[in-house]
Amino acid sequence: METRKVYLDNSATTKVDEKVLKAMLPYLTNLYGNPNSLHKWGREAHKGVDKAREQVSELINSSPNDIIFTGSGTEADNLAIKGTAFALKDKGKHIITSAIEHHALLNSIKWLKKIGYDYTILPVDQYGLVDPKDLENAIRPDTILASIMFGNNEIGTIEPIAELGTICREHGVLFHSDAVQAAGHVKIDVEKLPIDMLSIAAHKMYGPKGVGALYVRRGIKLTPIIHGGGQEFGVRAGTENTSGIVGFGAAAELAAARLVNGEMENETRLRDKLINGLLERIPETQLTGHGSQRLPYHASFCVKYIEGEGMLLLMDAAGIAVSSGSACASGNLEPSHVLLACGLDHATAHGSVRLTLGHTTTEEDIDYVLEKFPPIVEKLRLMSPFYDKKNKN
């Protein structure tokens, strides 16, 4: 049983679905043309990219021509933020975002600030929720863009996108949402939602790494961040990653089907079993993020008195992949900015652990984790100076 392998780090990345790989393989073998070439090889490749554009657009109910393929979710975020900032620089230079965004967002606006832009970072409550009133209050005459993520990668919280987007629309401010974690896992309809731009990535929905997309509502013009040939409607230059894009298309189609046929409900059930099981078995542990308004595959905790990296490595030794927002695990000296933004103190935040399910996660996998995790925590706690103190007091 020690050799069981349970991958619960699907927020970091997912395994490429076999059907996705099958769709990709022709573009890694015989259909190797450059989609920009006029000859047969090029036209075949172009057809593959076109089909993928349709598949991805169907996942979010957009028009295919509103999809710009990029090299990652990060690049999609950068294109949305910087592309808008440069395009609208004569209109204004103020951008609003939240304290729990991905670094792709936050580091982009920090950089923009260095070159003359300004931003407001909205706080979140203990569950990681942005208050739409805060957004409304932050809007200034020179605000050009607000960007609030759809679902958070570290704590799973799903933001009130409809309300946030509506406020932006009322004030004539463009609204971008980073849906890298949410797309393919929760229903997103850009026709119904007041979203102007949406970032997504293939590798978070069983597609390949190295391909993302930005949905851009018709009529919005962006300044490219990668200049060159006229690929992707002139917004993102560079020879297309044909196999990756085709894989993204296939993954999007499969994800759309899962959303329709109710597979996510089973995933959510397993997730809730995991959450409840761990909270029962491991005392002095709290769920991070929102209890119900959360990504269906996402469970995240702070375990008191111990540090995340240790849990991660001992779980790994037990064959279980998890992640942590602790300082050590993230390679930074600070624990996750998301956890701190939710009001957790540093010591608690260092005890963060995230378990994110996938569409192939089984009941047995969850049982295995519920069996293995508590003794690991106990082992680390017995080494902790804080746990000791606690017992004494």
């Binding site: 920090k110 540090e307 300082a327 000296l333 080494m383 100076p385 804080f386």
Partner: protein, 165 residues
């Protein structure tokens, strides 16, 4: 990332846990930074460390270095124990990743602090000639205190050696 020996000392830590009859305790680090180490000593009248234990809140490197430093210090005189340099600990573990080097400083500091505590508890002055290497040396690691200050200006700039903003 970690070599086998580090993993071993983390997975099967030597000398971990509380010590009931310690006659010296040193606690260093800061929970804000994610690294706290507590060293328990049982020192005999010849100033020999008869027993030593540690408790650590921190990453695998912090636990492994804590464990290693206890192994290295056990049976040594206080004078000898103070000569255990953080580089020795790292070397004994076969090396640590660059961003984890500072953990070994913590281990060294823990021993020092416990030794100071030993004399304090006995109401004795620190013996002349005892050398406290790390307190003499300015803290070389990216202290989380420093970092916390920097955070105010640049909260999200990642640590790297190639990028400039």
């Amino acid at each position: 990332m970690y070599n086998e020996k580090v993993v071993d000392y983390f997975m099967n830590p030597r000398n971990s846990g509380k010590m009931e009859n310690a006659n010296a305790i040193g606690e260093v680090g800061n929970p804000v930074c994610g690294d706290v180490m507590k060293i328990y000593l049982k020192v005999n009248d010849d100033h020999v460390i008869e027993d030593i234990k540690f408790e650590t809140f921190g990453c695998a490197a912090a636990i492994a270095t804590s464990s290693m430093v206890t192994v290295m210090a056990k049976g040594k005189t206080l004078q000898e124990a103070l000569r255990i340099n953080n580089k020795d600990v790292t070397a004994e573990l076969g090396g640590l990743p660059p961003q984890k080097q500072h953990c070994s400083l913590l281990a060294q500091e823990g021993i020092e602090k416990a030794i100071v505590d030993y004399f304090a508890r006995r109401g004795e002055e620190l013996p002349e000639g005892l050398l406290f290497p790390s307190t003499a040396v300015k803290c070389g690691r990216n202290c989380c205190g420093d970092k916390a200050k920097k955070i105010e200006e640049e909260p999200f700039i990642s640590d790297n050696h190639r990028a400039t903003e």
